[in-house]
């Protein structure tokens, strides 16, 4: 099994992004997804900057993938997508079927991203025939359904699962961070840059619930499948996706790496850092439950 770092979902300053990926280059991650996938207005980094980071990561032995935007509305969004498709020598993660169309026409192999809603064998076979060499399961998919799908997956198709981070639950045309400041998206003043981990939304009884990240809505709980790693290995999952967080990302990668290839002395195993789950954790989707559910039993058993 390999470890992937998913695309950065937050809006950070250029310096912070470069410094973050310099740290990632030294971590035991195998694959790094790069690019702005949440909001086309974010501009701290342009495509040449992402390509520069890709070059640095490749020099450190990492595979790099350019992620396309999940919500493509305007012609300018499509033009950006066309530039990604034209970047020969880079694998692209397709996050909508417009990207799939352009990549398959260009006869480029691609990664089918988690927002394509690949839920069954015929759809998986279809995207394989179009050039997908890896697919990322939808976050809502349970381990049991995934296991059935694995039995019939096309030859040469790698399977990737979102295993750690705040869950990207929804996309909208509306920016909820701008809305919090009574601003419209077109004149948003880039308020999301002030929230490097998103903006916490609580219920009226004071319980942390969701995380507003511009046009994206995330879970406030950190999805964490570290104790399900063995189960995923048995299911034939090839790649585990960790989603970048403002703190501790490299340590989380190290903990998963230690789980994948445990050191002979179990006491030498790297644990998740304290603070890896700022508002708590959940693992419900994998167990076929509500996403926010926390299935303790599976974890206790796995801890043994």
């Amino acid at each position: 099994m390999q470890i992937a770092l998913g695309p950065l979902l937050y809006y950070w300053t250029r310096e912070r992004v470069f410094s973050f990926y310099e740290g990632i280059a030294r971590s035991p991650v195998d694959i790094v997804y790069l690019g702005e996938g949440v909001c086309a207005r974010r501009h701290e980094l342009r495509l040449p900057d992402w390509l520069e980071i890709a070059g640095m990561l490749r020099a450190a032995g990492k595979q790099t993938v350019l992620s396309s935007q999940a919500l493509i509305e305007a012609e300018s969004d499509l033009n950006h997508l066309r530039r990604l498709v034209a970047e020969d020598g880079h694998l692209v993660e397709a996050n909508d079927f417009g990207a799939v169309r352009l990549l398959s026409e260009a006869k480029r192999p691609f990664v089918a991203g988690p927002y394509l809603n690949v839920f069954n064998t015929p759809t998986l076979a279809k995207i394989a025939s179009l050039g997908a060499t890896r697919w990322v399961a939808p976050i809502e998919m349970s381990g049991a359904v995934l296991s059935d799908l694995q039995a019939s997956r096309p030859a040469g198709m790698q399977t990737e699962v979102f295993v750690f981070g705040r869950l990207p639950l929804a996309f909208s045309a509306r920016c909820f961070t701008a809305r919090h400041f009574n601003l419209q998206k077109d004149t948003c003043a880039f308020k999301c840059e002030s929230y490097p981990e998103g903006l916490e939304l609580r219920t009226r009884d004071g319980k942390p619930f969701l995380n507003l990240n511009g046009t994206q809505t995330q879970s406030i709980l950190t999805y964490d499948l570290i104790r399900e790693v063995d189960e995923m290995r048995e299911t034939g999952v090839d790649v585990l996706r960790i989603s970048p967080q403002a703190e501790h990302t490299a340590e989380v990668i190290a903990a998963f790496a230690s789980r994948i290839a445990p050191p002979p002395d179990s006491h030498a195993r790297t644990a998740l850092p304290a603070g890896a789950h700022p508002a708590g954790w959940c693992n419900g989707f994998w167990h076929g439950k509500a996403g926010l559910a926390r299935i303790e039993a599976a974890r206790e058993e796995a801890v043994q």
């Binding site: 509305e73 809603n117 919090h180 009226r204």
Partner: protein, 337 residues
């Protein structure tokens, strides 16, 4: 059959009485679903079995109205056959078209029933013409329903760059999130539009009177709280009041309905082929009233686009019927974003 109209009015039918109400009040098309999770309005007591669908198709056909069947959830795992059976049934009973979201299912429909017309559901999340043309080229899809996220100019851009028909939402409950890209409901309840055909399902709703007011919860999560005199709405989870940095407000969206009747001349002029009314879960009386208003409005816009004015009685009627009795133009009006 009468001449096809330049813009079709597509109305919801949760059951046979609603279908008849839509047909009798001027719908051009009526869309339906089966009694299971193969469609995105999988609500108790709703939808059609073989007998009622057959009767509905007969009733509509005799009056020159088309019946569509939504099979627009994503089949998973061992239950694949339930979805293909729904497609087979649609073909056998002679519906005008099926409304699909899942590419695997589109491929099945195209191969097994090449004569069956396919529409891309809003759950397919196709927000640009490259995506729409993908479904056209690979599966012969003939119409796409656009997610409620595009501004008018963006819709126009889509229409200019695709050979297939475009249908847009005109009226009804408003999804703030891109349809097909929202797992909020399954995050809280385990059931979502994509996989179960429901959002914020009734079985998860609890009302409780507390010292702070009337509380609505969805599987334990507090969605809103209402003081005396406040109108308590259904706890759709994106339409509750939440607290962000100490401020309590509708952080995602107000409980409001989409109403685009004033945009009709623009939509017609752009070449929008059909306008959809949301609400298969609503009553036959609702369907009758909304259909009647929209029929009148479309006819007026077709008669005289330049002189088109939204009549006060239309607005009053629609306002009575909408969620929270508030209206919005949604994403069609750019500042909404």
């Amino acid at each position: 059959m009468p001449e096809p109209r330049p813009i079709e009015l597509v109305c919801p039918a949760g059951a046979l009485p609603s279908l008849k109400a839509a047909v009798d009040n001027g719908a051009d098309c009526v869309y339906t679903g089966l009694k299971d999770n193969t469609n995105a309005r999988n609500f108790g007591g709703l939808n059609f079995d073989d007998k009622s669908l057959r009767e509905g198709i007969r009733y509509a056909r005799e009056r020159g109205v088309k019946v569509l069947l939504a099979v627009n959830t994503y089949p998973q795992g061992a239950s694949w056959q339930r979805w293909t059976a729904a497609i087979d049934k649609a073909a056998d009973l002679g519906v005008f078209a099926v409304i699909l979201a899942d590419p695997g299912l589109m491929q099945y429909a195209q191969r097994t029933h090449p004569q069956l017309r396919l529409h891309l559901s809003v759950q397919g999340s196709a927000t640009n013409y490259e995506a729409i043309n993908f479904y056209h080229e690979h599966f012969g899809v003939q119409r796409a329903v656009l997610p409620r996220v595009l501004a008018l100019a963006q819709i126009e851009q889509v229409i200019r760059n695709t050979p297939i028909e475009i249908e847009v939402f005109g009226y009804g409950a408003l999804c703030v999130m891109v349809e097909g890209r929202c797992a909020l409901s399954s995050y809280v309840t385990g059931d979502s539009p994509n996989v179960s055909g429901v959002c914020s399902p009734a079985r998860a709703v609890r009302w409780e009177q507390s010292a702070d007011g009337l509380e609505s919860r969805l599987d334990g999560v507090l969605i809103d709280r209402f003081g005396p005199g406040e109108k308590a709405g259904y706890p759709t989870l994106c339409k509750g009041r939440f607290e962000v940095e100490g401020e309590t407000y509708y952080a995602i969206e107000e409980p409001t309905s989409l109403n685009t009747v004033e945009l009709l001349p623009r939509l017609i002029d752009m070449g929008v082929r059909a306008v959809k009314i949301e609400g298969r879960q609503r009553s036959p009386a609702y369907v009758a009233q909304v259909t009647r208003v929209w029929r009148d409005a479309i006819d007026a816009a077709l008669r005289d686009a330049d002189g088109f004015e939204v009549r006060a009685d239309w607005t009053a009627e629609l306002r009575k019927l909408s969620e929270g009795q508030m209206h919005t133009l949604g994403a069609y009006y750019r500042p909404w974003k």
